[in-house]
């Protein structure tokens, strides 16, 4: 009954997409993130038209006579790699790889995590118990080790890498959704639904899910960043995306021993990874603030 609360509530659910976008663009950090992401998506989509060279072409004049890669120049903007391929073109194509894996792996992880989280959170009981014990088990798995072993068993390919990452990444999502679903399930408006005789399916679909959508969007966005990093790490360890398909991680993996002599080969893809991961992190954070005032300022 205290009237000390300040009536500055903003409207979380109205306004449509346009205004969310406007609000995101108004904040320098999220505007930066959006621009980076859009640029990269653009580069990935338009890759065939904007790549100055065939990214897989091991050009004869792409290596010095001793076989050393060429530094950035007007001919090769970001230099060439150890096989004489144009690094800029490979980075652009690598954007495709990173984004595809980011979206694919994260999509699967989100689907899996949300399903497990909602099921365990809403039904509780032994189903919830078993599901959450299983997520506990997955949490205790050293994620990278698991990914490496999985990648070693299955012959690596883009899809497998995405699946492996999804297998590792769904756990966090499940945890978050589980906790939220549990607290939602105990809220009065859900009690009202039960009292009205609404079916479980209806309660989940019409009342629980809409409340989770924002968390799913936010964590899904943040998850893309983890996914990009994990793909890069797997590729860096040589168990990720298969050559000659470029991914930022395997570009660094292929060239890392040259970091002292040809730093551009590690520096540029490194920057690309950091930029993309950073942008998705910033965007996720901004979305959290914009979409869900309850979470404002947390995490």
């Amino acid at each position: 009954m205290s009237d000390a609360s300040i009536p500055v509530k903003s409207d979380p659910s109205r306004g449509g997409r346009g205004s969310v976008l406007v609000r995101l663009l108004r904040r320098p950090r999220s505007a930066f993130a959006l621009i980076v992401i859009l640029t990269m998506v653009g580069a990935a989509v338009l890759a065939p038209w904007i790549m100055p060279y065939n990214p897989n072409n091991q050009m004869f004049d792409g290596l010095s006579l001793e076989g050393a890669p060429l530094p950035p120049s007007s001919e090769f903007w970001l230099g060439t790699d150890l096989l004489g391929r144009d690094l800029f073109s490979r980075l652009i194509l690598g954007t495709q790889t990173s984004l595809i894996i980011g979206v694919l792996a994260n999509g699967i992880a989100v689907l899996l995590g949300a399903t497990v989280g909602i099921t365990a959170g809403y039904f509780g009981g032994w189903i919830g118990g078993i599901l959450m014990r299983f997520t506990d088990l997955m949490m205790a798995f050293p994620a990278l080790l698991l990914a490496i072993v999985l990648a070693a068993i299955f012959k690596p390919s883009l899809l497998i890498v995405a699946l492996v990452i999804a297998m590792v990444n769904w756990v966090q999502m499940a945890r978050v959704i589980y906790t939220e679903t549990r607290s939602l399930a105990q809220r009065e408006f859900i009690d009202v639904q039960r009292a009205m005789g609404a079916s479980t399916f209806r309660i989940l679909g019409r009342h629980i899910l809409p409340h989770l959508v924002y968390s799913i969007i936010v964590f899904g966005t943040l998850g893309i960043s983890t996914t990009v990093l994990l793909e890069a790490t797997l590729s860096y360890l040589g168990v990720g995306v298969q050559p000659p398909t470029p991914s930022w991680g395997n570009i660094i993996f292929e060239n890392q021993t040259y970091f002292a002599n040809a730093p551009w080969l590690v520096f540029f893809p490194g920057i690309a990874i950091v930029l993309l991961a950073l942008s998705f992190n910033l965007l996720g954070d901004a979305l959290r603030d914009t979409l869900d005032p309850r979470l404002k300022g947390r995490h």
């Binding site: 088990l137 050293p142 994620a143 991680g249 950073l278 992190n281």
Partner: protein, 306 residues
């Protein structure tokens, strides 16, 4: 309390059992044939079969697993196929290095992370806050192999301030500890910031102000202890992050810990070592979670272990 600890230990054992089963099954599916690797290129099929039988690899899966479990219960992690050494000995030899690294990384991330988080929360929405948060975002967005290579290049190769990889002195420890710690720093600072902001809005902080207490005293006695509570729960997650990080960081810096051991073993499909390292790091994570749960009531009297 003790009933709780014992029950949690029991649950942890179940989780470890599950992990051992899953890992064992996964490794069972790995196509490489250990007997072949041991026998070498000049061996006859007969010799290989002989070795396979000696190792029990000709048994069905469940027998192999139960045998492994039986040995495990006696503290026997088996013998490395390729190094021909007790896995427990190999892990024990590398554990001090990993523990040292872990300790140093935790110190780095706690000191830097909590400070950054606290400062950002107190200066909320200021330019300081903004730049600290961007920094923390960068640290969680930078892959550890990139950070590691960069630090190595700048501070060891170019500036020569630290040794180029290896193990032994304090100087060796600095760069890998920072590399691993930075990731945690990002998470901790963000956690700390949001937790601080939450706590700053609490009624008891208003009470503390109403008491006429000084700002520093309020922050140290009323805000910080409460803000740290949710962060304690991070310990388990943090150890998980750490365990994933060491594979990369130890290989970048040539740090003789279990991450390096694991990576070498994975390359050679040395199954007993992979099993051993997985179980040991799972133990760490599980114990970390348990530890977090046990510390929580010490710091927060409201929490009762049940």
């Amino acid at each position: 309390m003790w009933a709780y600890v014992i029950r949690r230990l029991g649950e942890s054992l179940l989780i470890l059992l599950g992990i051992s089963l899953v890992t064992f099954a996964l490794l069972y599916l790995v196509p490489a044939d250990p007997a072949r690797q041991i026998a070498g290129r000049s061996a006859t099929a007969e010799t290989v079969a002989n070795i396979r039988a000696q190792l029990g690899l000709d048994q069905p899966f469940h027998i192999q697993y139960l045998r492994y479990l039986g040995n495990l219960l006696q503290g026997d992690l088996g013998r490395s196929y390729l190094q021909r050494t007790e896995v427990s000995e190999l892990i024990a030899a590398r554990m001090p290095a990993t523990l040292l690294l872990m300790l140093a990384a935790i110190v780095v991330e706690l000191i830097i992370g909590l400070t950054i988080g606290a400062v950002a929360a107190l200066k909320r929405n200021s330019a300081v806050d903004q730049s600290l948060m961007v920094f923390s975002f960068v640290t969680i967005s930078a892959p550890q192999f990139v950070v590691g290579i960069l630090l190595l290049y700048v501070f060891a190769v170019q500036l020569g301030w630290f040794p180029i990889g290896g193990y032994g002195t304090f100087g060796h420890l600095v760069l890998p500890a920072i590399t691993i710690g930075l990731l945690g720093t990002g998470w901790y600072s963000r956690m700390m910031r949001s937790s601080m902001i939450d706590v700053l809005a609490q009624d008891y902080v208003r009470t503390a102000r109403a008491k006429g207490l000084g700002r520093l005293r309020i922050i140290l006695r009323h805000v910080a202890p409460n803000a740290i509570l949710p962060i304690i729960a991070m310990i388990g997650i943090d150890i998980g992050l750490f365990m994933s990080g060491i594979v990369v960081v130890e290989s970048v810096f040539g740090w003789p810990g279990i991450g390096q051991l694991a990576w070498q073993a994975i390359q050679r499909v040395d199954i007993p070592i992979i099993m051993g390292v997985t179980l040991v790091s799972a133990c760490f994570i599980v114990l970390g979670n348990l530890l977090a749960d046990l510390i929580a009531p010490l710091v927060d009297p409201r929490i009762k272990l049940k």
